[in-house]
Structure formats: C-alpha cells, structure tokens
C-alpha cells in the first residue's frame, strides 16, 4: 500500500500523462485517474496521521 506522498506522486504522473496526451478521451481518463490518486493520498494522509488504534491489552 502506498503512502500519501507516493499517491500524490502518482497523481502528478497522471496529470503529466494527461498533459502530453493528444486524444481528448484518453486525456480525460488520465485526469480522472489523477483525481482518484489525490483522493487516495487524502485517505492515506488521514490514516497515516491517525493510524489504526492499538488493540487494548488484556
């Protein structure tokens, strides 16, 4: 599973692919993938900050 920073890097990569893409439909799909990676980065950040609660002892 990727970290928030890695998800953001994937989002940037998808945006770069979209920018160099000349086919409108494919460009939109790369942009859509970039949005989803940003959403994943947000989720990852939330989990990284909070983290799973430790199981209580006993």
């Amino acid at each position: 599973m990727r970290t928030a920073i890695e998800c953001l890097a994937k989002a940037s990569e998808m945006e770069a692919r979209a920018a160099e893409c000349t086919l409108p439909a494919t460009r939109m799909q790369f942009l859509d993938a970039a949005i989803r990676w940003r959403d994943l980065a947000r989720r990852a950040l939330l989990q990284e900050q909070g983290g799973p609660p430790p199981e209580p002892e006993g």
């Binding site: 692919r17 086919l23 494919t26 989720r43 609660p53 199981e55």
Partner: protein, 339 residues
C-alpha cells in the same frame, strides 16, 4: 517485345498513373530499378517532399535521404523480381529534426508481361498516431489496474481500522449487551473486509468462496470463540467462484448465521461445532450453516426475529434464494437455497 505487348504495357502504365494521380492515400509507382515513376499528391504532402523533385529520381534519393532504407530496398527488389511481395511491412521513417513516423508498407508488382518494363505499386500508411493511441490505451489500462489495486488495499485497510475501533469499544464497555452488539458490528465489518482482500487477490473480479469463507470464519472464530476445545467452526466449500456482489451477500449471511449459532446454540459452555457448507451445481447452489447445539426452542415460531434474522432474510431475497430452518438433531440447520 512485340507491338501488341508494347501497346498493352503503355495502356497499363497510363491506367496506373491515373490511379496514382487520383489516389488520396500515399502511393508510389516505381520501376524495376526502384526509380519513382509517379507519386500521389498525398505521398508528397504527408512526407513533405517537393512534387517537382520526385519523378525519375531513385526512391533512396527522395527528400533528405530518409527513404534510403536498405531493408526496404531489398524487399522492393525481391518484389520486382517476382519472388516476393510486401504485405504489412512496418518501418520507421527517420527524418532529421522531425519526429519518427511509423509506416506500414504494401507493394505489388504489376504484371505487364514484359521483363524490361517492371512496375511496382507501393502504398504507405502512416500509423504513427494509431500506434501512439494504442500505447496510450495500454498504459491507461495498466494505470487503472494499479489504481484499482491501491483502492482495494485502502478500502480493506479502512475497514480493518473500523473493525479495530469496534473491537476496542467492545473491550471497554461494561454492558454485556452493548459488548455483544459491538462484536457483531465488528464481525459484519470484517466480513466485508475479508471479501475485499479476496477481491484484491482475484484478477477477474471473481471471489473463490472456499478461501473467502475459511478466512471469514477464522476471523469470526478468533473474536468470538475463547475456547476452541469447546467450540469448533469448520468450513467445507466446493471450488465455486462467484461475482463480488454475490460474495458480499453470501459472506454477510455466513457471518449472521455463525454469530447467531455462537450466541444461542451453546449456552453454559456446552461443547459442539458449527459447520458452514456451500456447494453449487450449475446455477443452483445451497449454503448451509449447521450447529450441534441445543436446537430451536419449542416456541421458536413465536420468537421475535432479531437484526441478524432480518439481514439474512433480506440478503436471501436479494439473491433470489429461500431460507429453510430445520432441526438437525442435534442442533439446527439453516439452509439458503437458490434453484
């Protein structure tokens, strides 16, 4: 060559020139020495060649020499000699300071019945954009697969966190009833999380029920069975695989029925076992959960159904299946049957 053959060759040449001149595609007419007899306007436009500097020049001398490709020349010579023809030959046209173009070349010898008057028709298709488009689509598909896998991991992780929070709550609360509800909720979440893990491992979006139910029951058993010598939970499933949405419903049904058996069938530390079984035959399938507990109370018909029963009935209805509850002697067997 006799006069008749010569006239025929001239007529054929005229026809070929007319075809080349009227062609919207990049086409060349070459002679046996690979000199250009004629080129279509489209050829000159597409490859940015001066139309005035085409006819009579060797193919290898066109443009800036980018057509001087030994392999292409060799294939064209073989075609001219009649020993081969070129079909779908792919080559890269490399021009200084310009993007390489990917071409598909086809060539045919025109039969003039005259060895001294050889003509080759060469058609060229620029498939650069199509190849780029194909590569982009492949890249996109690969990226989508990576994204989907990451989403599945993240969802499974989120569900695991929710289950942990519920379990933590269950361990903290004092009320026995509240603890039970929190554990049930935790097991329901884990049912989905387990399915999510199975789905992430599957390539086609299908879930192998044997592995899924085994993992699911191991998770329920770990959280609800404190003494495994007293109670055992066994799973027998054939090699069935189902779509994810059906697996979710089946997993939730198994969760509810197992929780129900664990809660009600073995009072006062009674020993016993719970058996989860699934088998299918074509479109028909049967899921059953059987326990060796105390069995149904005599007045079970009057008993008020709980949340678990409601969930099982709703899910069975969604799957177009019927719920059958029977005394197993000892214990109870609940079957979900789809015909």
């Amino acid at each position: 060559m006799d006069t008749r053959t010569s006239v025929l060759a001239e007529a054929a040449d005229s026809l070929a020139l007319a075809v080349i001149a009227s062609s919207n595609a990049p086409v060349l007419l070459l002679d046996g020495g690979l000199d250009v007899v004629a080129a279509s306007d489209s050829f000159c436009d597409t490859f940015e060649i001066d139309p005035e500097r085409v006819a009579g020049r060797p193919l290898s001398a066109l443009g800036g020499g980018e057509w001087n490709v030994p392999q292409l020349a060799s294939l064209l010579k073989a075609t001219a000699s009649g020993v081969a023809s070129i079909e779908g030959y792919e080559m890269d046209l490399k021009r200084a300071g310009k993007v390489n173009r990917c071409l598909v070349v086809n060539a045919r010898k025109l039969d003039y019945f005259d060895a001294d008057n050889v003509r080759l028709v060469v058609s060229l298709a620029d498939v650069t954009d199509a190849r780029i488009s194909e590569k982009l689509k492949d890249d996109l598909l690969r990226e989508k697969a990576i994204l989907l896998q990451e989403l599945q991991h993240r969802v499974a992780n989120s569900l695991q966190i929710i289950a942990s929070v519920l379990m933590q709550g269950a361990k903290k609360v004092r009320s026995q009833q509240a603890r039970g509800h929190l554990r049930d909720a935790r097991n329901r979440v884990m049912s989905i999380a387990t399915m999510q893990r199975q789905l992430a491992a599957s390539r086609l979006g299908d879930v192998a029920l044997g592995e899924y139910f085994t993992d699911l029951c191991a998770s329920i058993g770990a959280s609800m069975i404190s003494d495994h010598d007293q109670l055992s939970l066994k799973v027998t499933v054939d090699d069935s695989v189902t779509k994810a949405d059906i697996s979710v419903s089946l997993g939730l049904i198994v969760t509810e029925l197992v929780i129900n058996a664990l809660k009600h069938a073995f009072p006062r530390h009674r020993k016993g076992k719970i058996l989860v079984d699934y088998r299918s035959d074509g479109k028909a399938w049967t899921l059953s959960v059987r326990d060796t507990g105390i069995g149904m109370p005599a007045d079970h018909a009057d008993a008020k159904p709980g949340l678990g029963t409601g969930i099982v009935e709703a899910l069975a209805k969604q799957l177009n299946a019927i719920v059958d509850v029977a005394a197993a002697k000892p214990g109870t067997m609940v079957s979900i049957v789809h015909k």
